[in-house]
Amino acid sequence: MQDRKGLLLLLFVLLMSQSAVVAEDSLVVVMGSDSDVERLTREQVVHIFLGRFRRLPNGLTATPIDRPQDQSLMTDFYQLLVGKSPAEIRSYWSRLIFSGKTAPPRQAGSGQEVVRWLAETPGAIAYMRPDECPPQLRVVLRLGP
């Protein structure tokens, strides 16, 4: 009897998690078009944004940019990339920041600032919705359902 209840609970939990993943739109990961990085794998983007390893295929140091002002975009990005909620990402960074490890991504105030930083900073990398991606940027990875 107890076992069956446990099983039902587990099924319920699995269903909940499935429905949580389906909702997002697709996103693009972008860099400045003068960077000579053509494509990145999902794994490389995970390493860059989670501060594990920030060397680009061309040898430059990657500078990831977050968009805390646009919570729904940021939420979708980390959900699509690693299946994590904003609280889990903040918890992850609190461990690295307060143990004196890697720095978190740079925090951009607006979409315009992201575009400016991508143009100014070699190795800068950011994410956005496909319809807000200006032509001077290069898509290095697509994330989507």
């Binding site: 998690s17 060397r55 990657a62 299946g83 903040r90 609190s94 004196g100 720095a103």
Partner: protein, 402 residues
């Protein structure tokens, strides 16, 4: 026993400070400013935690750096703490980090400790060098034990992390990270000296100052898997403050018990599997000692976490079990009870949940059911004759970062 009740004036003012910081915290995210080309940031973390046990016959400590543990009345002392950290970034390659933490510590005060003060040099993404004071990395998560917001339990499992009184060291570390076989391989080496104290129930404390620490680890990360093998050795620079006891023993016996200039070795294996809402941790450690005081110990825990929206229930099992060193010159009526003071033999089932109800703030509740032998004493203080090795602990915590 009234000591716990005596401390609180200082404690309450510190906690009031922590609480006011908490109220401010959600409004202010990390404060950031620039001075010339230097980027400065001020961040903080803290926990307001209350815990009690069902058993007044012993006090379980969170770790051996605290003089009192969890007793049979609700108390804020064990888990509450507050930390502030300043990062000064001089260039993308060079950063200085200074952190101070106030918590209930060995001398029953809340005087803040300078826990970190180091320079970090990252000349390229492969190499990182730190010089100064930084966290010890005996085990996988041991340098973020104070940051409750970074994990789901109220406190790191005491069976596993509790025997470590070392939080920081003054020294140097060097880490190299490189892609390897589709994943990421990291190797790290560190060395330095401790500056800390460990209380023994009554003053004087065990002075860890100038104890030498040398260690390193190898970590492999691939997709959801993270595996780490670690090894740290400590050479104590002082004996336990039991000189008059040692003096009464024959020299050969006393020398076997003295820890000064003797090594303790800590080996560990950590495996983390982290996929979407599911996260699990398996940690194992083995301690070996070249002296007859601290006991050779196996410890470990398995913890399973599953996030459902803002809730993360978790379930875990931890254990610690030790063996006294066989002495060449024992005096059983004296050395047996001495060695028994450092004995562990217990298992804990812990279950609880974390609720991320607000940005940068979470609430946790947890129950620990501990079953051990009546002589399992190392992680307890103030055992009475009624102590039977078993207790249940209830804990609540509010964690925040800003």
């Amino acid at each position: 026993m009234s000591q716990v009740i005596d401390i609180p004036l200082a404690a309450i003012s510190r906690l009031a400070f922590a609480c006011s910081a908490l109220l401010l915290a959600p409004a202010a995210t990390a404060l950031e400013a620039s001075l010339g080309s230097t980027d400065l940031s001020l961040r903080g973390f803290g926990t307001l935690g209350a815990a009690r046990s069902t058993d007044g016959s012993a006090e379980l400590v969170r770790d051996l750096s605290q003089p009192h543990g969890i007793s049979d009345h609700w108390s804020l002392t064990t888990d509450s703490l507050f930390g502030l950290q300043v990062n000064a970034r001089f260039s993308p390659e060079l950063e200085a980090v200074v952190q101070a933490v106030t918590r209930y510590k060995y001398d029953e005060t809340y005087n803040p400790d300078l826990s970190w003060a180091f320079l970090r040099l990252t000349p390229n993404p492969v190499l990182t060098v730190r010089v100064g004071r930084f966290g010890t990395e005996f085990y996988m998560l041991s340098d973020s034990r104070m940051v409750g917001y970074s994990y789901n339990t109220v406190r790191p499992p005491p069976d596993y992390y509790g025997t470590l009184p070392f939080n920081y060291l003054d020294g140097l570390d060097l880490a190299i990270t490189h892609p390897f076989a589709g994943g990421l391989l990291t190797g790290k080496l560190f060395t330095g000296q401790s500056r800390e104290q460990s209380p023994l129930g009554a003053p004087p404390d065990f002075d860890l100052n100038e104890s030498l620490l040398i260690g390193g680890y190898l970590e492999y990360l691939d997709g959801p898997w993270q595996i780490r093998l670690g090894q740290t050795s400590v050479r104590f620079d002082n004996d336990l403050p039991l000189e008059s006891f040692y003096q009464q023993l024959p020299k050969a016996t006393a020398d076997e018990l003295r820890v000064k200039d003797q090594w303790s070795h800590f080996s560990s294996l950590g495996i983390v599997y982290d996929q979407g809402p599911f996260q699990s941790q398996l940690m194992l450690s083995k301690t070996d000692n070249e002296h007859g005081t601290f006991q050779d110990t196996w410890a470990g825990y398995l913890q399973l976490n599953y996030r459902i929206k803002d809730w993360t229930p978790f379930l875990g099992l931890s254990f610690a079990t030790s063996d006294p060193k066989a002495l060449s010159h024992p005096i059983p009526p004296v050395t047996d009870p001495y060695q028994l003071d450092f004995y562990s033999n217990q298992r804990t089932v812990f279950v609880g949940a974390r609720w991320d109800f607000y940005r940068n703030v979470c609430l946790k509740a947890q129950v620990d059911v501990i079953r051990g032998s009546a002589d399992s004493k190392f992680l307890y203080r103030y055992e009475t004759e009624d102590w039977d090795g078993s207790m249940t602990i209830m804990s609540l915590a509010l964690d925040f970062v800003f």
